[in-house]
Subunit: 104 residues, 2 copies
């Protein structure tokens, strides 16, 4: 059963570039983690949103303890306006399978 | 330039099933809208998160005024704990192109 994560980080105004750099630096390593189907970053006005899909809960758990994540949150911890908002979700497939799910 | 939307709806506890039904009902119609690359629903504990990608800002604007969206928000308006949180974002591509973006 795949697991979807939507993680939101709101950077302090003076730290937007530093947070973006830390996020993009983490991405390449995370893509190599086992069970990573999707790990994508999006941005608007200093708000960064990761949309992730993991093959199963075990893969997500492993990711949560991986070095790339520790490095990311170690760097950005004090550069955010508030603690990260991390939602762990189940897909609700509907409609056209090509458009109704992040990854098949 | 594609546009990504992350829209979060938090249902009142007694309305979770009604909100889910309204959301899934909208999805099939939205998938047929022009420029809809992705319109996917996810859920945990009464929180519903749409992750969407639109071909460009014009497609998103057209979607915002489409009948399916009006019907959805008309139905769920009073069934949510708070107003929907709708974030309009730009992709920040990085790493493996197959895992670093919602849709190519």
């Amino acid at each position: 059963m795949p697991v979807v994560v939507v993680a939101t980080l709101i950077a302090k105004p003076e730290s937007v570039d530093t947070v973006r750099n830390a996020c993009t630096k983490a991405i390449e390593a995370v893509h190599d983690e086992p069970g990573c189907d999707l790990y994508s970053l999006h941005e608007a006005d200093g708000t960064f949103v990761f949309v992730e899909q993991w093959a199963d809960a075990h893969a997500l758990q492993t990711h949560s303890g991986a070095p790339a994540v520790a490095a990311l949150f170690g760097t950005v911890g004090e550069l955010l306006q508030s603690p990260p908002d991390i939602k762990v979700l189940q897909p609700v497939p509907a409609g056209d399978p090509a458009k109704g799910q992040l990854r098949a």
